[in-house]
Amino acid sequence: MQKRVYFIMSKPERQTLLIVESLPPSRAEGLADLLEKVARTGWMDAYTARQRLVGRGPSLFAQGERRELVPMAVLLEDHKLRCWLIDPVTPLFAPARLRSLRITEDAIDFTTGSGPLRLERGMPVVAVLADTSGRAAEKNLKHLMAQRLYQGAGAADALADTALQRAILRAEPVLDLYLLAAEGGIQGAIRILPGGFDPAGLGARATLSGAGNLEQILDLTRSHAGSCTLSLDFGLANLPGCRLKNAEDGPRWQQDNLESLTRYGWLLVALAAGQTVTAAADATGFLAGELAPELTEIVREEATTQTGGSAAPETATQPGSLPPPPTAGREREVRHWLGLVFGATAGLGASLAAGGHQLLGGVITFGMRTGLLPASLAVACLWSGFYFLRLKRRIENTPTSKTRSLAMGLVEVQGRAVRKYALVAPMTQMPCVYYRLRKYRRDRNNRWVLSSASDSGHVPFYLEDDTGRVKVDPRRATVNTRTRQEGHGGQFNMLFGRSGGGDEKWIEDLVPEGTSLYVLGEATEFGLRRPALRTRLVTALQELKRDPDALSRYDTNGDGRICEQEWAYARADLEERLLHASLKAEAASATPEDRVIIRRPRQRSLPFVIAQSSSETHLTRRYGLYCLPLFLTALLAAVWTFMVVGGRTG
């Protein structure tokens, strides 16, 4: 049999991948130091870095030019994390389906759809046991969440390998075997599906279960191979092009999952063939001379910062080093309780209405009979119509300001949303400047009832235009978002794209970072304003007069008194010093974006609108469209009222 070896093909012109072996959640605590360094260097914010470092299996940490990734890789290695720098891998072929097999003392002979393949004793093998349905991955996540809930974040850990293997075999397992040649490269690849091959070759090992036979082949491979690298992390590992799909992703989802599995297998082979960064550095001496100074610089910078104690989140100034979002204050707690009370009242009202309760029925009948109900409806619609009309005109009448020259008061600004804090949406984990999450639960009548609501109104963000940026405090704003995600069940269902179909549903509205934003609110300056230079000069001169020692320094002729000329000199000298101090303080003071903030106007009649839009036109059009039906309803309700009243009076 002629032996053919396929070598890993990569395209050097494409971006390099930095892949890291992720840590289980229980070991994430030890990452604080690394995350701080990553954030400080400006590569990415700490939250994103944590997401990429914690989990199961290999994880794509960063992608880019090799020279930019090497310092990152060295830093990861320095923190005892295994990582690889590889070029993107293009699979040359998919593993061939196994039809039958024959086991001998020295080898296992596989007969595949593409021809025979031989696994000789001592041959290196990369094996991937995967569940293409996503059920095992979901189970793993459920397990993780349950542990987190009952034993705390520190104890949370993924399923042990044996348990995960069992979960995969109980779902829809596929076993891919990559037979590696001694000189590197792939000699052949086999895809084994339960029930897809003749188990007779297993002899006494054969079982009645397809998954059991698969497990037997896996055991045999382990015993025959010289080194067998088994991966159970397909669907859990964060690698490019290896995402699990489900039926909602289209009719080809199963085919897509098998293709993803092939990509995953080839990536693992590339990782197995490639050396880790430190090993490569030791072998070639490449990193030792060229990159050690960069790392030293990072570490030195870190040491310098740490001497000043733990840095407050606000002091982080490097681009990308976003501090964690602030926690919600007392106001939010109050709002939360008010919301609950309001929700309970509304729920009670709805239940009474649905149940045909006598009291509510009586109130409605009375309102209809007297005409109070349609009259209230008419007034409410008229008032709402005028509210939207006023808002529409206010938006149209307010010219757009530039952030550089914002005047205090009601302002309209347009630009790009930029995060001030490392805020991510709780369900979709998308970096965003604002999110609103509502969770619903199905009640006894099979209707969705709001069970909880939360938002990131307490987290400020920046709005950036051509001239600069300004801080926006979205507390109590009317936020119009255009990005909505819906899902059933918990976060794990969302992560694996499953419909869940349970009794829980969530809706997440968010304003993703980088989108166009329109803001209408009140600009205010905050922080203490220093007194004018003239006032400070007067104070300094008064202090000078009270201090004879300081005054004597200006007595140039030594006659014991300050003449007019000497006083003028003292004054000029003090003025110059104050000017220098003032300019130095101005240069060191907070950046302009942190001096002005746009927030809810103190005058309650003024609007505070944040809309995900590049222009105000769609907003005004929307408010215009709200007005028309409201006015029409008001008219009809008024007619209805008078018909009721007229009918009664006869």
């Binding site: 008419a378 206010r394 009448n397 010219p399 020259s405 101005e586 008001a634």
Partner: protein, 189 residues
């Protein structure tokens, strides 16, 4: 009964129309006051620039012993701003001050020591930032005037504007001298 319904519809439409007129009227009043505010906000920045000038002149004096004329021109323009009465006069004084400042910064090029002075650099940057902000606010003022002028000429605001004697406002006009082309000559090179 049908007459009553007709009356109710009429009454509701009347209430709606009155409400609409009220919204238009209030909107126009807000716009008119916003224009005044936008104008005053330019003044705020002009005042800031005015206050920064003594500091700038003080720093320059130490280096520019031979440029007394230029410095005096700035001081004179500044005092003109202080003494100006009426919008037109104020505008002219501010324009004159801008011109003298421009001359001052051109002359500074001849004094590398002064250019290297950190205080001068900070002050120069601050005044330059203020100039940019003033330009932005003038643009903003023009936007506000433009919206107002369009409103009072468009139906149905036109009716309310005519009834309540809302008159148009003038846009910011620059000094005609600034419209002239810059004379560029390379004869001295």
């Amino acid at each position: 009964m049908s007459a009553l319904i007709f009356l109710v519809i009429l009454l509701t439409i009347l209430v709606g129309t009155l409400g609409y007129i009220m919204v238009i009227y209030n909107g126009l009043v807000t716009l008119k006051n916003d224009i005044d505010k936008a104008w005053s906000n330019i003044d705020v920045l002009l005042k800031q620039r005015f206050d920064e000038l003594p500091k700038l002149i003080k720093v320059c004096e130490g280096y520019m012993q031979h440029e007394q004329k230029t410095l005096e021109a700035v001081v004179k323009a500044r005092s003109m701003v202080n003494e100006a009465r009426g919008d037109r006069e104020k505008l002219q004084a501010q324009n004159a001050l801008t011109d003298t400042l421009r001359s001052l910064f051109m002359v500074v090029e001849r004094y590398p020591d002064l250019k290297a002075d950190s205080v001068f650099r900070n002050l120069g940057q601050r005044i330059s930032d203020l100039e940019d902000q003033i330009a932005d606010r003038r643009e903003f003022y023009n936007d506000a005037v433009n919206i107002y002028n369009i409103r009072i000429e468009q139906f149905p605001d036109l009716v309310v504007a005519r009834f309540f004697n809302f008159s148009g406002r003038e846009l910011w006009r620059i000094d005609p001298a600034h419209r002239q082309d810059v004379a560029v000559g390379f004869s001295h090179i």
